[in-house]
């Protein structure tokens, strides 16, 4: 199956591991990802809070660039996913705005018919389009014995539902059950990681991060799975600062769900970007997965 691919800025640098693992897993599952030519930034959360019309025009340019060979667009980053989806919906619901956006696009010789492209998250493509059987078929290294906490964050399940429960999503839980992992019933799975709050008020942000780490520790999780570069950055990058702030000693690896999917598929860790995280996941994997293998 063919999908247009929008990596977004994060996946080019701090979340390169996400990009690498998405591509590696996609290849394994025969998901043909074709990167949009000359894509631009989605504007993250900032553009939309400043000027909706401009933000829409910026995002719609990417939708317009999806060639006519597919109507499916995959965006792994939660913020990109939401912005692309939101823009398409706004242009569909408000034709007046759609016309203005297209006026702007026309300056660059582009046009986007609202509703033409379906914006998808990688998790939905794997769970819904590929499905359980095909995923199970590829598993060579079951994740048995590994306790994973699936963390969904906000933007993929809210405010525009991806047909999973916005309050208590289960899709990633099910995916990792297919892989044989022990999936923790992670009660804070759809709580906020703080987003950019680390840049505004550290105490507030650190408390939000602490709650997520604390709950994972309470449930004895070996690692937290995430599906958003912002969540990964906050939980992983600020983990030592959080420890310093609260006097805690969390040491929980935070990895992208596609990385662990790759591990289960037997893809080489380097190809999956394993090792790019600050709290290293390798020792955990070595201990848990080998223990199972030798048991």
């Amino acid at each position: 199956m063919k999908y247009a691919y929008y990596p977004g800025c994060s996946l080019e640098c701090n979340a390169a591991a996400y990009d690498h693992s998405v591509r590696a897993v996609a290849e394994m599952l025969h998901i043909e990802l074709v990167e949009i030519d000359d894509w631009n930034c989605c504007g993250a959360t900032e553009y939309f809070s400043q000027d909706e019309l401009t933000a829409c025009a910026v995002v719609a340019r990417n939708l317009a660039l999806v060639d006519d060979k597919t109507d499916q667009l995959v965006a792994p980053c939660a913020a990109c996913y939401l912005n692309l989806k939101k823009t398409d919906q706004l242009m569909t619901d408000h034709p007046g705005m759609g016309a203005k956006v297209n006026e702007a696009l026309a300056a660059g010789g582009l046009h986007y018919n609202a509703g033409r492209v379906q914006v998808r998250h990688m998790l939905d493509v794997i769970c819904d389009d590929i499905g359980e059987e095909a995923v199970r078929d590829k598993v060579v290294q079951p994740l048995a014995g590994l306790r994973v906490a699936p963390y969904y964050g906000c933007q993929v399940v809210r405010p525009i539902s991806n047909d999973d429960s916005p309050e208590y999503p289960m899709k990633m839980d099910r995916l990792f059950q297919w892989l044989g992992a022990e999936v923790v019933d992670y009660p804070v799975k759809a709580h906020c990681c703080g987003g950019h709050m680390t840049q505004i008020s550290e105490p507030q942000a650190f408390e939000l991060i602490r709650r997520l780490l604390q709950s994972a520790e309470d449930y004895d999780a070996d690692l937290i799975l995430c599906m958003c570069p912002m969540c990964q950055l906050n939980l992983d990058g600020f983990q030592s600062r959080v420890n310093g702030f609260f006097g805690t000693s969390f040491s929980i690896p935070i990895v992208y769900f596609t990385q662990m999917l790759g591990v289960a598929f037997g893809i080489d860790g380097k190809k999956l970007g394993i090792g790019k995280e600050l709290v290293a996941v390798k020792p955990v994997l070595d201990a848990k997965l080998q223990a199972v293998a030798s048991a």
Partner: protein, 678 residues
């Protein structure tokens, strides 16, 4: 000879006149429609003065046809037919136009609505001129009644009819009658014991000489019509001989197979593979749960058969379908509980100490799995704090928009029981407290005094993710106290979810079988929401209790009694009038192709082998017209809906196109059409 038509346009106060220029319509009809002798408008046509006006005009002006343009024929067709009859005019020479529901209530543009009203009046006028006098038919009413559902509403209806001396077939899907009320401990607001007031009624029904109890049975098929229904009932195999069994209970005692009871005990208790749902069950005849019985699953055991002193166990028993004739049917199939797992953030089935309201009823019940002790899921620890969350699945756009009506009072009852039986603190998280019936508000006041804590706000989530040491090991509610305008958290030991009252899963299916419809939410639709709450649009089929909408016990009992009273009136009268609006087959033209035979939804067409023609059984025909449309030889005519009547109606509705936009009598060319509104 030309007909003499009288037209009466009703203002209905401002209901019609507010949007339709009623006077203009009447004036126009009098001036432009052919054969119209009288055309009047009047404030309230349904008033006795309005009716008298019609009657006098019929006599004085020798009217031969009458058209009343007012509200829905459901409301007043009978009224005006009677007025015609009083004045000596056959009531079927009258036609009603629905200017209210079909015009004024659904439009906002006065000019356009007035034009539409003219079209509707014109259509009725053209049709009424071709209508034929008809004579209503009368059929005998079979005195027996079928009651579907043995909960409190059905029991009440059955007992009242039986006490009046009429036979009743009481069909219940479960092995025992009693319904949900049998599961409750106390009833609000009096706090009398539910079983104590229910079981006398159950044994009354069980022993009544006029009641045939058909438990563990389901309604399969209904045919016929009011006064004379034929009903097929499937008696599911119990694997216990109803006549031989004495209800001694030894089989249940000795059965080695223990099964979690998800029905009566709401999953908190156990039953055996051969069981009666509860000790006071009526009848006391057990059933074998074949999905769990060791003999049925593995072919070995037969302990029940060995211990039975009367050899009543019959592993070979089959389902039996019986057929009974009844004059009327009461549907009292009750409700089911909302699936609380659908709101995952409340943690039901994930977090052990989150309970549903039905589970909590069983916990409180002295005959329940804990002998009435309010304890946590471990079966022994008494909670120190209990939070009750209202409106779980009710008043929620994602699930059910309606208020379930009874949960606020049930929550107060739970609060009282917790305070009475334990030392725990009780919190109620409500959106609005709804305690509108007799003595209900007083009960709320009582709980305020007893020390139940009330928090106005919807709970966002129930979680075990502790943030503070005081929250460790507790269930934490995250909520907005809307009176304080603050987000807050509360750690408690136990949470009770007040799940919504929902229609039975197969309510629509059963409705179809009996010819009655459901609302959007799935509740059975009554004939009139205020004035006819237990009848349905199908004559002879009544509804009672929560299957018609969420209801508490007193309201369910009232409806059961009301349905019984309505039916008694029909049985006492002995005959019921049937509309003469039926199909008839011209035997000269009928080729005997039998296409119509299978199409008839009421099995009202029989085939005469000797003559080689089909024939309508008029007592069964509902005048739906299916056969009329299907007959390839045009041999079937629908009385009151003949082709020429329907075509005349269509031509009348299109008066402006047919006659040039200026009425029929004008020879002038049509004026320029006005510009259509944008």
């Amino acid at each position: 000879m030309a007909e003499r038509v009288g037209i009466y346009v009703c203002h209905c106060g401002s209901n019609i006149a507010g949007i339709v220029d009623v006077e203009a319509v009447a004036k126009w009809a009098g001036a432009h429609l052919r054969d119209v002798v009288v055309a009047k408008d009047y404030k309230f046509m349904c008033s006795s003065l309005g009716q008298a006006m019609v009657e006098e005009d019929i006599k004085n002006e020798n009217l031969t046809r009458v058209v009343v343009a007012a509200c829905s024929p459901h409301l007043h067709e009978k009224t005006f037919r009677r007025a015609c009859q009083n004045a000596g005019l056959n009531p079927y020479l009258f036609q009603m136009v629905n200017l209210r529901e079909h015009c004024s209530w659904v439009h906002t543009d006065r000019a356009a609505a007035t034009e539409k009203a003219k079209g509707l009046v014109s259509a009725a006028t053209e049709r009424v001129k071709l209508q034929k006098p008809l004579e209503p038919m009368f059929v005998d009413v079979t005195p027996a009644t079928l009651v579907v559902g043995g909960g409190i509403a059905g029991l009440q209806a059955a007992i009242e009819l039986a006490d009046a001396g009429y036979p009743v077939y009481l069909v219940e899907r479960e092995p025992s009658i009693g319904g949900h009320m049998a599961q409750f401990d106390k009833t609000f607001p009096t706090l009398d014991c539910s079983a104590c007031i229910l079981t006398p009624k159950m044994s009354d029904a069980g022993q009544h000489e006029n009641i045939t109890l058909l438990t563990y049975s389901e309604l399969e098929e209904v045919s016929g019509s009011v006064g004379n229904f034929t009903v097929k009932i499937r008696k599911k195999a119990r694997y216990v001989d109803y006549d031989k069994c004495t209800g001694c209970g030894i089989c249940q005692e000795k059965c080695p197979r223990k099964v979690v009871d998800h029905d009566f005990e709401a999953g908190l208790g156990y039953r055996k593979a051969i069981y009666t749902p509860f000790p006071q069950a009526v009848p006391r005849i057990p059933v074998i749960d074949t999905a769990n019985c060791t003999y049925f699953t593995r072919g070995k055991c037969q302990v029940c058969s060995k211990v039975c002193p009367t050899e009543a166990i019959d592993y070979e028993q089959q389902d039996e379908v019986i057929e009974v004739n009844v004059g009327n049917i009461v549907i009292a199939t009750g409700w089911k509980l909302f699936n609380c797992e659908s709101i995952p953030q409340y943690g039901y089935k994930r977090l052990a100490n989150v309970f549903t309201n039905m589970e909590f009823e069983r916990l409180c019940n002295a005959a329940g799995p804990t002998n009435g002790k309010i304890v946590m899921r471990d079966g022994k620890t008494e909670p120190e704090s209990v939070a009750i969350i209202h409106c779980v699945g009710s008043r929620d756009a994602k699930f059910n928009p309606y208020c379930s009506g009874v949960c606020c009072m049930a929550a107060l009852k739970f609060g009282h029981l917790v305070l009475e039986k334990t030392k725990a603190k009780v919190y109620s998280f409500y959106i609005d407290m709804r305690t509108p019936m007799k003595d209900y508000e007083e009960f709320y006041q009582r709980l305020l005094e007893e020390g139940m804590t009330f928090v106005r706000g919807k709970v966002a989530e129930v979680t075990d993710a502790a943030r503070l040491p005081s929250e460790q090991g507790k269930l934490i509610l995250q909520y907005e106290d809307t009176l304080l305008g603050k987000q807050k958290r509360l750690p408690v030991d136990m949470v009770v979810l007040m799940g919504a009252i929902e229609p039975q899963v197969d309510a629509k299916e059963l409705g179809l079988r009996c010819g009655i419809s459901c609302s959007m939410a799935g509740w059975y639709t009554e004939r009139h929401p205020k004035l006819d709450p237990v009848a349905t649009m199908t004559d002879g089929v009544f509804v009672a209790g929560a299957c018609q909408g969420p209801k508490d016990i007193p309201a369910s009992v009232a409806q059961g009694a009301a349905a019984a009273a309505r039916i008694q009136a029909m049985i006492t009268k002995g005959k019921v009038m049937i509309e003469p609006i039926v199909a008839s087959i011209d035997e000269e033209v009928c080729s005997g192709c039998r296409i119509c035979n299978n199409l008839c939804p009421y099995n009202a067409i029989e085939y005469d082998e000797e003559k080689g023609v089909s024939r309508i059984i008029t007592a069964l025909c509902k005048g739906c017209g299916t056969c009329v449309a299907a007959c390839p030889a045009n041999a079937i005519t629908g009385a009151h809906f003949s082709n020429d009547q329907v075509f005349a109606e269509i031509e009348g509705a299109l008066w402006d196109a047919m006659y040039g936009g200026n009425g029929q009598d004008q020879g002038e060319p049509a004026p320029e059409p006005e510009a259509a509104p944008a």
